[in-house]
Amino acid sequence: MSAMTLDPLSDPILERRQKIQEIAQASVGRRKAYSKIFIVVCWVFLALAVVPLIAVIVYTFAKGIAAWTPDFFTQVTKPEGIPNGGVWNAIVGTFVIGLIATLVTVPLGLLVGLGLAQFEGKLAGVVRFAADVMTGVPSILIGIFGYIALVTRFGYSGLAGAFAIGLIMLPIMIRAGETAIRGVPPQLQEAGIALGARKFIVTRRVVLPAALPGIITGSLLAVARGIGETAPLLLTIFGTQFFNSNPTKPMEALPLVIYNYSSQPYSDLVQIAWGAALLLMMAVLVLNIGSRVLAGFLQRERQ
């Protein structure tokens, strides 16, 4: 101890250090308790949020799997009383409508997103705001719009459905594209520009490839969202009990089957509705999980 030569004046710093340490020590138990309580509360709310989610998946699986017979996947929808009905026409309808909507929406949304990311200004602000508002528009309104814009003139058709679904997907795609492109470090762009490249070349050869994982993820999520929509289809594709892969004619789609058959008093039709629900849920799940896996894979590929 004698080796320690302390500042012989009163030492406010040591004094304060001691005071603060005492208070910190005294409150550490309380703070730990708060922390534990908070963690428990978080877990409880997590459970509250996740339990219904898992319940829906499990319940749909339990109810729907019985409908998955070979006929379910190969036969068209049949009226009550006729056995061996399936949803083949609805599968094809959803596929064709989804494909058309995707082929139009993804490039269009991507270009708009690219514009939003690259050009700042009033117009960009307006477009971004419009896209945000459109994300929040009730889907039945989109259906009514599709009905008025296309169906009243050309009649019910798969194309009208694709148009309505596309309107649902477009704002999602725009924001996903913008986010993905904004995620590319500006230094990469600068490096390209410093090599004497024009902005278009830099965008095409440097920015877009770098943003690809985000773009793919965003596209798949937009598709997943689009194919699950019911209301826009209700007013545009009408539904049909016949096999039809021609999008200019009325088509059937999985959400429509679920909607129409689940309210029927006949148990075999309700069973088909459950099966269709399971199929649609699985498709959306595969798209969601697939987009994550793919994004992770592409990300790792780059490093």
């Binding site: 101890m1 004698s2 080796a3 320690m4 030569t5 302390l6 500042d7 012989p8 030492d11 406010p12 710093i13 040591l14 304060r16 250090r17 001691q18 005071k19 603060i20 340490q21 005492e22 208070i23 910190a24 020590q25 005294a26 409150s27 550490v28 309380r30 703070r31 730990k32």
Partner: protein, 287 residues
């Protein structure tokens, strides 16, 4: 008279020990270790980033960690206040003593440890939305201090120590974001000092600052020695030479893990290093 003073202050120290405050280091004088690193290794996801580092950090001195990027300076620094606890894949091996307590002991609460071993980061990171005053006393508030008198006292004392008091005393209620980069960094130093830590860790504290602001921080570091023990990571060898008393030179080994090559008084390391690699590095031949 003097004898009596010394004996009373010595009693204060003993009281502190009794209060389990840890060993409170003397304010000046002989080289007493406050922290001892014994065979410290840090691994991320099973890969060693720093291996087998041992040295002592002496009280009221500045110890600098130098070495090229990847040599594990920052990783080692963050092992000294258990910042690696927040990284799931990180593991720390060996012993780090603060006084005579093992900071990785089960009985050591990491939050209490960090009130005793503070940290300042590369980029100034004052809390947004908090005033200058609130930033300065944030650590006290987080640790349950409510008494206004103590908060005010600590705020003033730490801002004075960080050479910021004179320029901010009339605008303590202003947002911290109204300060310049150098002032923000000094506010962060004040924030770290306000809880009166025994050791202050500084992770390249001037790397985001201009030369003038850097100079002020360096002057500050020397002034602060009286108050705290400082461990500083710097990529700037001249800075290490200017501010530190002891210097640890780390280098990446063949297995890509940082290793302590040499530790000793800074002047000796810069003029008369034992290891040729130290000599080459401080002479700017590589790194």
């Amino acid at each position: 008279m003097t004898e009596q003073l010394i004996s009373t202050t010595a009693e204060v120290i003993e009281d502190d020990v009794d209060l389990r405050q840890g060993t409170i280091a003397p304010r000046s004088g002989t080289q007493t270790p406050v922290m001892r690193l014994d065979d410290v290794s840090v691994a991320f996801g099973g890969r060693l980033a720093v291996k087998n580092v041992s040295f002592d950090v002496y009280a009221h001195e500045v110890t600098s960690l130098i070495g090229p990027s990847g040599s594990g300076k920052t990783t080692l620094l963050r092992a000294l206040n258990r910042m690696h606890d927040t990284v799931r894949s990180a593991e720390v091996f060996g012993t780090v003593l603060l006084g005579d307590t093992d900071i990785y002991a089960r009985s050591m609460d990491p939050t209490l440890l960090r009130t005793r071993v503070g940290m300042v980061f590369q980029r100034p990171n004052p809390f947004p939305g908090m005033s200058i005053y609130e930033n300065a006393v944030a650590g006290l508030r987080f640790n349950g201090v409510r008494k206004k008198a103590l908060l005010d006292e600590a705020a003033e004392s730490s801002l004075v120590a960080a050479a910021l008091w004179d320029s901010v005393r009339d605008r303590l209620k202003n947002h911290a974001s109204s300060l310049s980069g150098g002032e923000q960094q000094r506010l962060c130093i004040a924030r770290a000092l306000a809880v009166e830590p025994e050791v202050l860790l500084m992770d390249e504290p001037t790397s985001a600052l201009d030369p003038m602001a850097t100079l002020r921080i360096e002057e500050l570091i020397t002034e602060l020695k009286d108050r705290v023990t400082i461990v500083i990571v710097t990529h700037n060898m001249q800075q290490a030479r200017r501010v530190s008393d002891q210097c640890a030179f780390l280098l990446m080994d063949d297995d890509r893990a940082g290793k302590l090559i040499e530790f000793g008084p800074t002047e000796k390391l810069f003029t008369d290093a034992k290891d040729p690699r130290t000599l080459d590095y401080v002479n700017g031949l590589f790194g």
